[in-house]
């Protein structure tokens, strides 16, 4: 029954994606940014659905299982203010630049802003590398979900493969419009079913008050932040959501807005949506101790699914599993489409291959690249052994480190390509160093100082931007004026 419900759900998702193909206008701009025609509600749902992945359901509940209530402040309420602020200051400006200059990718914008081909190519490679762990979260999450919800009868690779194929199909046929429509549908599904999950399971566990009282009695440390999270980590995690300013998939959704005013609903409603999704995840994660004490490492990421499997009837378990699938796919689709857009625009088109191709062929290249990326991610997922939370945090750390680039491009007239290149290289070197040394080390801090890697990388990359820019020739005033206007 559970498998049947999941199969029906995946078919529905496919149908929505394929329906959007009817509106396809046959141009690459329509395929990659829906001809910048998305309205306020679909923008909110697609931006939110894209940002909330397996990380916000499986990862958050798993981390709450380990660390308690602090996870909500650490990630959810931090994102609730930082992400809308990013939309306000960064998203609107990127949208305006995209509309005016016809940009479809970040590399196009930064290449034009600083007149540097090398910077565009370097950014393409770095952004691609940083999105891979983020994609893995989705494929691993799909696998975990199917395996746990069927009581281990279906191996995890089947779930990962199933969502990869479905995502590939509707991204291939629907492009950004299909992705936005499906995201809207899926975001509504996972928000609704998330609420149903928490109500149902909490009732099974004796009500909110009773269940929390039991958790407090057995694990009082989860009711406070205490030693589970350091104060420095809590404060510096405000930097993590700044990563949205450099996410390729977020950039793509921002560009799809019809007007700048379209952003307003997303800015205001985003914090509410975050609370609606994260509060149940955190509460259920802690309550997982009542039914499944002693889960370790990546196993803790499956606590939500274990609860569903143990406490919900089969039909509801299937529906709730579909909710987790929805959260997973609504991110995976945008990420792979963004990568397809980047490959088509930043490599194929920019380096002249497109001269020999029609618009249709360019779209085909994007679709093939999407298939290739999904295949690579799926293969990596077969051997990856990592918690969803830590994979996400490492990916976000890299994107946050690149934030000075978008900030300088939009706000600092004196910034130069040398500064931008220095920023990217600083992030690459430090991120690789910290990742190699700290990926498997719980509570890892930079150079043993107690400082989280994200803080060190952001400070260093900001300094690289400032020093690199001051030591190099100022950019031509005409170029700066075109981007930033007169002083």
């Amino acid at each position: 029954m559970t498998l049947l419900i999941l199969a029906i759900y995946l078919s529905l998702v496919l149908m929505v994606g394929l329906l959007s193909h009817r509106s396809f206008r046959g141009t690459s701009e329509d395929y990659f940014v829906a001809t910048r025609s998305i309205g306020p509600f679909v923008l909110l749902m697609s931006v939110f659905g894209t940002h909330m992945t397996a990380f916000s359901m499986l990862g958050a509940s798993g981390e709450a299982y380990r660390s308690g209530i602090g996870v909500f402040g650490l990630m959810a309420s931090a994102a609730a203010i930082v992400v809308p602020v990013m939309m306000f200051f960064i998203g609107t400006r990127l949208w305006a630049a995209g509309k005016r200059f016809g940009f479809l990718t970040q590399a196009q914008l930064f290449r034009s802003r600083w007149q540097s081909d090398a910077l565009g190519l370097l950014l393409f490679i770095v952004l691609l590398a940083l999105v891979i762990p983020y994609l893995l979260i989705g494929v691993l999450g799909g696998g975990f979900t199917l395996m746990q919800i069927t009581g281990g009868e279906v191996p995890s690779w089947v779930g990962g493969l199933a969502i990869s194929v479905v995502v590939w199909l509707y991204v291939t046929f629907g492009g950004l419009r299909g992705t936005a429509w499906v995201n809207t549908f899926q975001t509504l599904v996972f928000m609704t079913l998330g609420a149903v999950t928490v109500i149902w399971i909490v009732r099974q566990l004796g009500g909110l008050e009773g269940a929390l009282a039991q958790v407090a009695a057995e694990r009082p440390d989860l009711m406070v932040r205490g030693d589970n999270i350091t104060k420095l980590r809590f404060i510096t995690y405000l930097l993590i959501p700044m990563s949205v300013g450099m996410f390729p998939h977020m950039f793509m959704h921002w560009l799809s807005a019809k007007r700048v005013e379209t952003f307003r609903l997303s800015m205001v409603a985003y914090p509410l949506c975050v609370a609606i999704v994260w509060l149940p995840s955190v509460l259920l994660g802690m309550m997982g101790h009542l039914s499944f004490p002693g889960l370790e490492g990546p196993e803790a990421s499956s606590v939500l699914i274990r609860l569903i499997h143990a406490h919900a009837p089969e039909v509801l378990a299937g529906l709730l599993g579909a909710g987790v699938f929805a959260a997973v796919m609504s991110s995976l689709d945008s990420q792979v489409l963004a990568l397809g857009t980047m490959f088509t625009q930043d490599i194929v088109k920019h380096y002249g291959f497109a001269d020999r191709m029609s618009e249709k062929q360019q779209v085909l290249v994007g679709r093939c690249f999407v298939a290739g990326i999904l295949l690579v991610t799926f293969l990596i997922s077969l051997v990856a052994k990592a918690t969803i939370f830590s994979l996400a945090v490492w990916s976000f750390t890299g994107f946050s480190g690149l934030f000075p680039i978008v900030a300088a491009a939009l706000f600092w007239r004196r910034s130069t390509k040398v500064g931008a290149m220095a920023t990217v290289l600083t992030v690459v070197v430090l991120w690789l160093y910290f990742f190699i040394n700290g990926f498997n080390v719980p509570g890892y801090s930079a150079f043993g100082t107690g400082l989280p890697p994200v803080l060190v990388i952001m400070v260093a990359s900001s300094l690289a931007m400032v020093v690199g820019s001051w030591l190099s020739t100022p950019p031509p005033e005409a170029v700066v004026r075109r981007f930033l206007g007169d002083r």
Binding site: I69, G73, P84, F89, F101, G102, L212, H350, R482, G485
Partner: protein
């Protein structure tokens, strides 16, 4: 031109200063080890839930009083798009 932070009313600097204060209020270190329950949840969780709701109101204020002005059409717009799409730097 990308919308400028310099456009808009005189209240803009005040709004930005208050925004910085609001972001700082996220760091509720003062009840770090307090396990008191408020409204059925541990106090820090209730606080951060309230913070999310306050963020909605804050963003509404930002939109009302500090919305970036966008120049819808710029004399160089069309040529800029052409420049970029022809493969060169804009």
């Amino acid at each position: 031109m990308i919308p400028s932070s310099q456009s808009g009313g005189p209240q803009r600097p005040l709004i930005y200063a208050l925004l910085a204060l609001f972001v700082l209020l996220h760091n509720d270190l003062w009840w770090w080890d307090d396990a008191t329950f408020v409204l059925g949840l541990p106090i820090a969780l209730t606080y951060h839930l309230g913070y999310c709701l306050a963020a909605m109101g804050w963003m509404a204020l930002m939109i009302r009083f500090a919305w970036p002005k966008v120049i819808d059409h710029h004399p160089e717009d069309e040529s800029a798009v052409e420049d970029h799409r022809s493969g060169g730097a804009a």
